[in-house]
Structures are given as structure tokens and as C-alpha cells.
């Protein structure tokens, strides 16, 4: 399975070029949003930057959509544009949208309706947008994609599961291409929950190689991929394998291992095992924040490194264990990259990417 196009929506803007620029530029401070429950009334978040969005016509089509759906559609549209395949929606394109929390902000908006106006005066538009697969529906309708369209929700390995299924769909020729991606949104309540259950980085700096104690900064965004059986001129890389809860692959022979450490777990020491392979270690969560679908961004960083054959240094270098982490930038010879995620039970997911 080949990565033919990537679209991104994150704190650094819209477009895979914005993401690449962020990888080059390094760490940026998150924004502070108002939060009445937070000390000082402010809370750091990596909020997606939807200013100066280029897809005005598409946005007009989905003007009733909520922020989550808009991020998904923008990410998907950007992936399609990036792949450069003309009339791709005339082929059988499958859509897989992975999320952890879905349209929770809109769901709370609907609960506001019930509380404020009563059961009989709630908004059907808000309810419609609160349904978990609304984002995928907006993707398919606004981009005129008529293949199988699936939304999956997991708290562990949501994106990797989408990628694994895309691989199966392409192998079985259920689709010509798969538009697979991940989207999650932050909101007031989720920030509150994150602050209650996790330790927030007061300086806004996620330190992925500290492992324990960990510090998080909530993030949001969308990353979508156009995946296909055949390579094109644009091909970023090949997805050689996606392994979930299967420890057979331990990164042997991998040049770089990108870890999903982002402060989501209070103890992320499981990632120390990734150092055993001798590969350079990287983690890019400080660019997009703590999110259960962050692995989608890390895979994009891997795909870009393989495609451009250049190193993107870790945005935050704190490295108390003295691990071999990627600190240099510039040209590189990279044959393979493994993207590793661990869940709270030390179960592991591995996406292995190889150069074209």
C-alpha cells in the first residue's frame, strides 16, 4: 500500500506544506484558551488554525457542519489535492475516518439544548452534526466520494486500525483508493477532563522522551491520506505493514523510530523498548499536541522524511535517559521508518514505512 497524498489540519495551519514547515521550524508555543476552571483562567492547547483556509467552495458546501467535520473535510480535500490524481472521485474511493472522541463538542451543544430549551425544542441540525459519522458523511458528500465510508472510534490505535483496514480493502480490491485519516477536536470539557486526569505542561512543552512523569497539552486536528495499490510520481512512501497488538516487529533494521509519546499516559516508559533497536528516535507530538489520534501526524512526519530524504529534528530535545534521538536536520539516506504507539496496557501498534 502506497501513500499517494497527505492532507493536514493542525495548529500550524492547513496543508501538508504547513506541516512540513512546522517540522522544519520546530517547537512553537501553544495558544492559551479561556477556561474558567483553570488556574488563571487560561489553559494551553494546540488548537487547529483554520485561518486563511484555501478551500472556500468546499467550506460553503458544508457551512452547517461543525468544527470537527470541517477539519475532516479540509484534511481530506487537501489529501486529494496533494495526490494530484485527476478525477479520483470518479473511481471507487473508500473513506475511513478514525476518531477517539468524535463530535463531542457538538454533543455537549445538544445537551445544552436539552437543558436550556427542553426535549421538544432541541435543534435537529445540532443533533445531526453530533452523530459520530457526520464528519465522514460531509467528507463523502462534499468531495463526491461514493465508495464504502466508515467511521471508527477507538481510544487505542484508532488511526492504526484505519490504516490496517485500508490495507485490507486495497488488497481485496474493495476500492481503487482509500482516503483514510484521523480527526479529533478539543473543547472546554475535554480540556477539563485532560487537566483532571493528566498532568498539564505549564510551559506548554510536551517532553516525549521524559516518559515519567509525563506532561500533556491537548491538541486537535485532522490528517488524511490517499492510499493506493500502485505507485504514482508523487508517492511519499510504502506502508509495508501495520501491526496492532503484535510484538513480532521490534524495529529491527529500521533507520528511525517515531514514538507516539505525548503525555497521554502518566507513565510512557514502555517506549524505552524502542531504543533497543538502535534506530534514531523521534517524536513530534510537541508540534500538534496530545491527542489519541496523534499517531496519524507522526506517520505523516515519517512519510515526509522518506519522501524528502531529510531529517526533521525532534522539536523538544529533553532527553534525561541519554537516548539516541534525532537532533539534526538536513539531507538523509532513510530506507525505513517505524511509527510506534503504546496504550495504557503496554499493547503496541507499529506502522512500518519504507522508501519508494
Amino acid at each position: 500500500m502506497n501513500v499517494l497524498g497527505i492532507g493536514a489540519v493542525f495548529a500550524g495551519g492547513v496543508g501538508i506544506k504547513s506541516f512540513e514547515e512546522a517540522l522544519v521550524e520546530g517547537w512553537q508555543k501553544p495558544v492559551d484558551v479561556e477556561a474558567k476552571w483553570a488556574a488563571g483562567g487560561k489553559y494551553p492547547v494546540y488548537q487547529a488554525n483554520l485561518d486563511d483556509v484555501p478551500y472556500k467552495t468546499i467550506l460553503k458546501k458544508i457551512r452547517r457542519a461543525d468544527r470537527l467535520s470541517k477539519m475532516a473535510v479540509l484534511g481530506a480535500a487537501d489529501a486529494i489535492k496533494d495526490c494530484g490524481i485527476g478525477n479520483i472521485n470518479a473511481t471507487n474511493v473508500g473513506v475511513i475516518v478514525a476518531t477517539a472522541f468524535g463530535a463531542h463538542v457538538t454533543t455537549f451543544g445538544f445537551l445544552d439544548n436539552i437543558i436550556d430549551f427542553g426535549e421538544t425544542a432541541v435543534s435537529p441540525t445540532i443533533f445531526s452534526n453530533s452523530v459520530h459519522n457526520a464528519a465522514a458523511s460531509y467528507v463523502s458528500s462534499s468531495l463526491e466520494i461514493k465508495g464504502p465510508t466508515l467511521t471508527i472510534t477507538q481510544f487505542r490505535f484508532s488511526f492504526q486500525s484505519a490504516l490496517q483496514l485500508a490495507l485490507v480493502w486495497l488488497q481485496q480490491k474493495r476500492c481503487d483508493y482509500v482516503l483514510a485519516g484521523a480527526v479529533d477536536q478539543i473543547g472546554d470539557v475535554l480540556c477539563y477532563v485532560a487537566n483532571r486526569k493528566l498532568t498539564t505542561a505549564k510551559d506548554g512543552r510536551i517532553r516525549p522522551f521524559v516518559f515519567k512523569p509525563t506532561y500533556q497539552v491537548p491538541g486537535e486536528g485532522a490528517i488524511f491520506y490517499i492510499l493506493g495499490r500502485e505507485k504514482t510520481e508523487k508517492t511519499y512512501c510504502t506502508v509495508q505493514s501495520v501491526m496492532i497488538n503484535d510484538n513480532t516487529s521490534q524495529g529491527a533494521g529500521t533507520d528511525i523510530t517515531i514514538i507516539d509519546a505525548d503525555g497521554m499516559l502518566p507513565d510512557e516508559s514502555a517506549y524505552l523498548a524502542c531504543a533497543d533497536s538502535g534506530a534514531l528516535l523521534a517524536a513530534y507530538s510537541p508540534l500538534f499536541g496530545t491527542t489519541m489520534t496523534g499517531s496519524a501526524f507522526n506517520v505523516a512526519a515519517g512519510a515526509l522524511m522518506l519522501s524528502k530524504q531529510r531529517y526533521y529534528p525532534n522539536p523538544v530535545h529533553d532527553n534525561p535517559q541519554g537516548l539516541r534521538i534525532l537532533i539534526n536536520s538536513g539531507p538523509a539516506h532513510i530506507a525505513s521508518i517505524e511509527c510506534i504507539g503504546y496504550d495504557c496496557q503496554s499493547k503496541r501498534a507499529a506502522v512500518r514505512l519504507i522508501a519508494v
Binding site: F101, V131, A134, Q345
Partner: protein, 392 residues
């Protein structure tokens, strides 16, 4: 030649039609409709619902009714499949739902709104309640775990995903289906859409006035033939094909020309390697809403002819949302196994705009193949082809 690679070796179902499969079949035979007022939560709305009664106490989980329902159906299906301790086996778990995917606890949210502080218990339940993750963890199985949230086609899509997994070798056995509880939030939401019937639903009827919400779970054990043989099990029921397609039309309304449903049916039939005329009956989505039944009825008539035996079981279960595809796959398989389908409850008068009418009474069905369809909010369409593999 019937494709025999993926067998249905176990089934479980719980809904207002019955807490077990034998109870459900008895309800179907009696044409009994166990609907009534909401008892699960306080409400001023008066739409009748199909609630599950007498949930076995050992399955009771505070604030996690969807999970309780799912576990009941899973245990039934595993028992029928003769699968006891499955720990360590390569079993995939793919479950569809809607309610269990949302943190929509009114008590938690009200508390948050009022004092900007709320107890974390509802959040913990939610975070620990992802259906596929919990079932996979509880059974200690190896294999993929995925929760599908494709609204009303979630259960059908979950079974279709599991079929793909088995064919690709990602697992040897899969537990797949759907589960959903009756919940206050969608109850209000569907009410706001103006598609809930103040009386009992009447799928495909000329005078239909909308759907009734229900709850339940339906789960199948899917198994590669080689795996079933190794365990000394056999089953004549086969999952032959899955098709899924998007209308790319509208968030809440189906495409009037049924383009997505047609594509799903064609894909499922192609994968099964059969022709439309070989299909013995279709268990339709048939919600009882004006748009769904009009589009679905005419699409089915166009593809299978006006003499197709067709029914909707939602007159017995209500619309169980994410569970519907799982339950209806089980009911479709039961129709093939038992050789009959129940009367399409609620149907009295044919709609002149729909070129097909569902069966009005318990009806014998022959043939080797049947189809279960789902049309979902968001424009998703999905179809499963199930076979009775006696031709091998």
C-alpha cells in the same frame, strides 16, 4: 458453487423481541410487539419505544447498558459456537454502536455546566466502555478490535469489516455485530428530526408515520471453515458477501434514486458470486420513515423484482440504531436456518409509490441466499449476503 470460507458458527440476540434467540423466534411467530412508554429515563415525550426487559442481573453494569447488551449477545453467540475459554486465540472483535461512542451523560454535563466541576465517574465509564476494546480485553483474545460508528448501518458494517479481516488472514475467528441502548439523547434528537412515530411503526405501509426507537444487541461468530473444522464444528450458515457505499448526497436523507444502496447490493452480490434472482428474501432496513421506505422499497423492487419476499423486523424491535445491523443479520440467518420469516409487523396497506410490499404473515422461504440491508444517517448503505450452504 457456494463459497464456504466464512461460516456463521454462533449467533446471539437480545432485543424487545426476546432476550434469547428462542424467545425472539417465539415473538416472531406470535407477531407480538413489545413496545411501550419509556421507562429507562424521565421524559415528557410520548413516543413509544421497544425496551429490553429483565436484563439478567449478572450482566448489569452501572451506566454501561450498551455494553451489558453486547456482552449478553456475545456470550450467547460464543455458547452456540461452542467456544469456551478463548483467551489467546486469534479472534477479532468488530462491533457497531452509536450511543456507546458518545460522552453524552446529562448528569455529568449538567454538573460541569453548573459548577465547572464534575465527577469523573461518567468519563471513566466512557473511556473504559469502547465496545470492541472491552470485549476483546475481557475475552483476552489476540486479533484486531474495532468499534464502528456508522450510525444505523454500524452493525452491518462491523460484520462486513470482520469478513474482510477473516479473508485477509488477520484473524481465524471474529465476533461481530452491533449493540445500542435506548438513550435519552437520541430519543430527543430523533424527535427533533420529526421522524418518530407517535404510535407503532409501520414499515413500508402507506400510512407510515415514522420509526420507533429500540435497543438491543446482535452478534455473530464468524469463522474460517478451516478453524471450525479443527474444532469439530460445522454450520450451514455462510457469510458470503458485503457491500458498502455512500450516497454522497445528504446528511440525513437517502439519495432518492437509491444509488448508494444499489452499489452496496451489487458489491455484496458480486462478492457472494450470486445473481439477484437467486436471493430468497431480503430483510430490509425498513424503518417506517417516509423517505427510507420509499427509496429502499423501490430500489429492492428494481433489483430483485416485485415478487421478492421482503420484510422489516423493526416492527418487533424498533430501530435499534447501531445494533440494528447486528440483530438483522442474525434474524436473516435465522430465516434461512428455520425456513421461514415472520410477518412484517405493522404493515397493512401497500403504498402505491412503492413497487414492493413486505410479507403480511409468517412465510416459508426457500433458496440458499438472503440479504440484510442497512441505510444509515449520513448516506451510508450496507448489505450482507448470507447463505445456507447446502449446495456444497
Amino acid at each position: 458453487m457456494v463459497e464456504t470460507s466464512v461460516r456463521i458458527t454462533g449467533m446471539g440476540a437480545i432485543s424487545a423481541a426476546g432476550n434469547t434467540i428462542p424467545e425472539t423466534l417465539a415473538t416472531f411467530e406470535r407477531e407480538q410487539r413489545n413496545a411501550g412508554p419509556v421507562t429507562r429515563f424521565p421524559t415528557k415525550l410520548n413516543y413509544p419505544v421497544f425496551e429490553v426487559k429483565n436484563l439478567p442481573s449478572r450482566y448489569y453494569l452501572e451506566g454501561q447498558r450498551t455494553l451489558s447488551l453486547a456482552l449478553i449477545a456475545v456470550d450467547q453467540a460464543l455458547a452456540e459456537a461452542g467456544l469456551g475459554d478463548v483467551s489467546g486465540l486469534r479472534i477479532g472483535v468488530c462491533m457497531g454502536t452509536t450511543v456507546a461512542s458518545q460522552l453524552n451523560d446529562l448528569q455529568f454535563y449538567t454538573s460541569y455546566r453548573e459548577c465547572k466541576e464534575a465527577p469523573m465517574i461518567a468519563v471513566d465509564r466512557f473511556l473504559k466502555g469502547n465496545l470492541a476494546e472491552v470485549i476483546s480485553r475481557k475475552l483476552k483474545v489476540r486479533g484486531p478490535a474495532l468499534t464502528v460508528v456508522n450510525a444505523c448501518s454500524s452493525g452491518t458494517d462491523a460484520i462486513g469489516v470482520a469478513l474482510s479481516w477473516l479473508k485477509s488472514g488477520l484473524c481465524d475467528i471474529a465476533l461481530a455485530g452491533g449493540a445500542d441502548e435506548l438513550n435519552h439523547v437520541p430519543y430527543c434528537g430523533f424527535g427533533s428530526l420529526g421522524i418518530v412515530n407517535p404510535g407503532l411503526c409501520a414499515p413500508f405501509d402507506r400510512d407510515r408515520k415514522g420509526l420507533n426507537l429500540g435497543e438491543g444487541a446482535g452478534v455473530v461468530v464468524l469463522e474460517k471453515m478451516t478453524s471450525a473444522r479443527k474444532r469439530g464444528r460445522s454450520s450451514k450458515l455462510v457469510l458470503l458477501g458485503y457491500g458498502s457505499s455512500s450516497d454522497a448526497y445528504h446528511l440525513t436523507a437517502p439519495s432518492p434514486d437509491g444509488v448508494g444502496l444499489k452499489a452496496s447490493l451489487r458489491t455484496a452480490l458480486d462478492e457472494a458470486g450470486i445473481k439477484p434472482e437467486e436471493v430468497g428474501f431480503v430483510n430490509a432496513h425498513g424503518t417506517g420513515t417516509n423517505d427510507n421506505d420509499l427509496v429502499e422499497g423501490n430500489t429492492l423492487a428494481g433489483m430483485f423484482g416485485k415478487d421478492l419476499k421482503m420484510l422489516s423486523t423493526k416492527g418487533y424491535t424498533g430501530h435499534t440504531l447501531g445494533a440494528a445491523g447486528g440483530l438483522e443479520a442474525v434474524f436473516t440467518a435465522l430465516g434461512l436456518r428455520e425456513g421461514w420469516i415472520p410477518a412484517s409487523a405493522g404493515f397493512s396497506n401497500q403504498d402505491a409509490a412503492i413497487a414492493l410490499a413486505p410479507v403480511r404473515e409468517k412465510t416459508k422461504v426457500g433458496g440458499y441466499y438472503a440479504i440484510s440491508t442497512s441505510l444509515a444517517f449520513g448516506g451510508n448503505n450496507a448489505a450482507l449476503v448470507i447463505g445456507r450452504g447446502v449446495r456444497e
